[in-house]
Symmetry: C2
Subunit: 432 residues, 2 copies
C-alpha cells in the first residue's frame, strides 16, 4: 500500500518538479516510518522491514479497537469522530496545496480555507438538521427562524468569503491564488460533502455505517494479506505493490465477511433502527420495530436448484434481506473501492509525496486510511436512497408541518381527494 | 471591461509564465477585437477606438433582442438556450485548462471531460424532473423506474468516469492529469450546478429569470456608461478600468430599473405563474391565480412619515410585494454582482488570457458575459427557497404519491391526527 517515488529527470519540467518535491518534503510532515519511542525501544532488535510491519499491525489494531469504542459510544460519538476526521483530512489536503504552490507570504489563504470549511459545514449540517429534527425544531421560534433562513445565511457567508478572496488577490500571485482557491473547493467537495453523507447514513441506522466501514477495512487488510502470501501478478502500474491475487483474494474475503457481519448485526435493534425524533417521547430515539429488511424472509431458490431437494438441499432459504443487500455493498467495496486507493496513490505520486500526513505511525495521514471510506459512504447513501428508503411518512409529515395552517388544510384536502379517487382510502365516518 | 495584460518579468517563475502565455495565445481563440466582415466594411472610415465601441454596441443590442425572442419562445426555448450556454461555457473553461497545462498528447482527457458533463447534466436534470413532473411521471412504469433509480444510475455513470480516469493515468503526466481532473470538476461546479439553478428558477415563474438577468445586463451597461462619462476614481486594482463612479451610478440605475421592470412584469400572469403540472388538465401549465406576491398590497409608511400627510404625502403606499423583493435582488446584483466580474477578470489575468473565447464580437466568449449571471442565479434560488417558497402543497403531494399505498394511508392518518390535535382542521362529517 505504500507507494514508491519514481523520478524521471528527462525534461525541464521534471527538473522543476524535482525541485518542488525537495521543497515539499521539507514542508509536509510526510515521513511515516518513524514509530513512537516506546514501541521503538521494544522493537530495537528486529530487522527494519519487520519493525515496520509490527508498527503497522499494532496501529491497525489500535484503530480497530478505537472504532469499536466509538460505536459503543453511540451515534453522537460517531458524529463527533466523523467531524474530527473530516477536519483533519481537510487540513492534510490543504497543507499539500500550500506546499505545492509554495506561497508562504500569501495573504489570508489559510484563514480563507478554514472559513470556507466552517461555512460549508454550517450549510451541510444545517441541511441535515432540517431533515431529521424538523418536527422538534418547528416548536421553537428561534430555531425555526434559523432553519427557515439557513440557506440564505450560508449563502451570505459564502459570498463574504468570495468577496474576501477577490479583495485578497495580489498581482504577483494571481495564478497561485486561483489554483489554491480551486484546491480548497475540491477539498471541500471531497471531504465535507462526503462526511455529510456519512452522517446521513448514520441517521438511517448504525448498520449503514458499521457494515460498509468494516468492509473497507477488511478489504484493505485481506488484500494486503493475500498479496503478501500469494501476490505475483501486478495489477496496475500506478501501485506496483498491488497484485491481482490480493485484489481477488481481498474481494472474496470481503464478500464472505460482509455476509457474516451483516447476519450478526441484523439481530440488534440498536444497530438497525434509524435515528428518529419521536413525537410521543419528545426526544431522539433508536428504538423501533425493525423494518422488513431486518426480519428473516424466505427466498425461493431458482428453478434449476429445485431438483436438488432430493439430495438434501432445500428449495428455499431463510435469511435477512439485508444480507442480500450487503452483497452489493461488498462487491462495490472490493471492486470500485480499490480505485479510490489507486486514485489517492496517483495523487500522491502526482505531487511527489509519500503520504498525506504522519498522524498514524505505519499508516501515514488520516486521509491515507479514509480515501476509500469517503467513496464508499457516497455509494451507501445513493444505494439507500435508490433501493431502500422511500420517503418515510414521518419525514414527509415534518415537511407538511412547515406549511402555513391554511396550506396544511389545502394539502390535506388534496391528499384526501387523491386517495379517495384511487380507492386507497376507505371513506371514514367521523361523527362529532 | 476589457482587461489589460500586465507582465512582470522579475523572476524565474514569471519568465516561465510568459512562455506559457505565448503558448496560450496560440491555442485559445481569445482575440475579440476582430469584427465580422460586413460590419468591418461599414465601419472602415472610423478610428479604431470608435470601431470597437460600435461593434460592442451592435452586439449588445443583438444579444438583447435575442434574449427577448427567447423569452417570447417560452420556457422550453429558455431551457434549451440555458443548456446551450452551459455547454459553451464549459467548453471555454475546459479549453483554457487544456491550453494552460499544454498536454496535447494526453490520452482521453477531452472525452473524459465531456463524459462528466453529460453525466452531471443527467444527474441534475433528472433531479429537476423528479421535483416538477413527479405526478406525471408516476403514471408510467418505465419513467417511474428511471426516476426511482435515477441517482443510482448517475452514480454508476460517475464511477465509470472515475475508473476511466484512474486507468488513463500516464506516469509522466500524473500532476497535469490530476490538475485537469480538478479543473473539470470546478468547471462542472460553476457551470452545471448553477445552470441547473437557473432552470429551477424558471420553473418558479419566468419573472424569477427575466428580472435578475436583465438587472445584471442593466448593471453592466450602466456601470460602463457612468464610468465612461464620469469615471475618475479607480475602484479596484484588479480591473483598472472600473471606477467608483461607474459602480455607484450602475448600482443606483439598477435599483431604479429593477423597480420599474418588476412593476411592469408583475401584471402578466404569463410571467408570474410557476410552471406546474396540472392534474386536472393532464399537462404542464403556466396559468394560475397570481400569488399574493404579485397582487397589489397596501404598506403603511414608517411613523416618521405620517406627519407628512399634510403636505400631500400619503401615509401608506400600494405596490406589488414583488417590487420590494426586487430591491434585494437589485442590491445584490449591483454590490456582489461586480465581484463576479472581478473574479473572472482576476482569473483571466492569472492565466494570462484576454477573454474566455471569441464567440461574441466585441465581448469575448460566452463566459465573459455570463460570469455574473451564474452567481446571480444562485442568489435568486437561495432567496426564493428562503423567503418566498415554502413547499407548495402540490409538490408535497407528488412526494406522498411515491409512497406505497399503505404508507399513504398511514401518512394520511398521521396528518389528520396532527391537524386535529392542533384544531387546524374542523372535524368533517362524511356520510356514505
Amino acid at each position: 500500500m505504500d507507494t514508491v517515488v519514481v523520478h524521471d529527470i528527462d525534461s525541464e519540467d521534471d527538473k522543476l518538479e524535482l525541485k518542488a518535491q525537495i521543497d515539499l518534503s521539507q514542508s509536509i510532515p510526510t515521513g511515516t516510518d518513524k514509530s513512537p519511542t516506546t514501541l521503538e525501544w521494544i522493537l530495537q532488535g528486529l530487522p527494519e522491514k519487520w519493525k515496520n510491519w509490527v508498527v503497522r499491525f499494532v496501529f491497525t489494531m489500535i484503530m480497530i479497537v478505537f472504532f469499536g469504542l466509538v460505536i459503543y459510544g453511540g451515534p453522537l460519538a460517531l458524529m463527533m469522530t466523523t467531524l474530527i476526521v473530516q477536519v483533519k483530512c481537510f487540513q492534510e489536503i490543504i497543507n499539500i496545496g500550500y506546499a505545492v504552490y509554495r506561497i508562504h507570504g500569501l495573504p489570508w489563504f489559510r484563514s480563507l480555507s478554514w472559513y470556507f470549511l466552517v461555512t460549508s459545514n454550517y450549510f451541510f449540517y444545517g441541511e441535515n438538521l432540517v431533515d431529521y429534527f424538523g418536527v422538534a425544531i418547528n416548536r421553537t421560534d428561534l430555531l425555526r427562524w434559523l432553519v427557515t433562513y439557513h440557506r440564505f445565511i450560508s449563502f451570505c457567508l459564502y459570498c463574504g468569503g468570495f468577496v474576501w478572496f477577490v479583495l485578497s488577490l495580489v498581482k504577483k500571485y494571481y495564478m497561485k491564488q486561483f489554483s489554491l482557491f480551486a484546491w480548497t473547493h475540491v477539498a471541500l467537495l471531497i471531504v465535507v460533502t462526503q462526511s455529510y453523507l456519512i452522517i446521513k447514513n448514520i441517521f438511517e441506522g448504525l448498520i449503514w455505517f458499521i457494515v460498509p466501514v468494516s468492509m473497507i477495512i477488511c478489504n484493505d487488510i485481506m488484500a494486503y494479506v493475500f498479496g503478501f502470501f500469494f501476490g505475483k501478478t501486478p495489477l496496475i502500474k500506478l501501485s506496483p505493490k498491488k497484485t491481482w491475487e490480493g485484489f481477488i483474494g481481498g474481494g472474496i474475503s470481503t464478500v464472505i465477511f460482509g455476509c457474516l457481519i451483516s447476519y450478526f448485526i441484523c439481530q440488534f435493534p440498536y444497530f438497525v433502527c434509524p435515528i428518529e425524533y419521536s413525537e410521543s417521547l419528545g426526544r431522539m430515539t433508536m428504538e423501533c420495530e425493525p423494518s422488513a429488511l431486518f426480519r428473516p424472509a424466505e427466498y425461493n431458490l431458482p428453478g434449476c436448484f429445485s431438483g436438488l431437494s432430493i439430495i438434501g438441499i432445500p428449495s428455499s432459504i431463510t435469511i435477512y434481506p439485508f444480507v442480500l443487500h450487503s452483497l452489493s455493498l461488498s462487491i462495490f467495496s472490493s471492486v470500485i473501492g480499490p480505485f479510490g486507493g489507486f486514485f489517492a496513490s496517483g495523487f500522491k505520486r502526482a505531487f511527489k509525496i509519500k503520504d498525506f500526513g504522519d498522524v498514524i505511525p505505519g499508516h501515514g495521514g488520516i486521509m491515507d486510511r479514509f480515501d476509500c471510506q469517503f467513496l464508499m459512504a457516497t455509494f451507501v447513501n445513493v444505494y439507500i436512497s435508490s433501493f431502500i428508503q422511500t420517503d418515510s411518512p414521518q419525514k414527509l409529515l415534518a415537511q407538511v408541518l412547515y406549511l402555513k395552517p391554511e396550506q396544511q388544510v389545502q394539502f390535506f384536502t388534496l391528499l384526501k381527494e387523491s386517495l379517495e379517487n384511487r380507492n386507497v382510502l376507505e371513506p371514514v365516518v367521523i361523527i362529532n
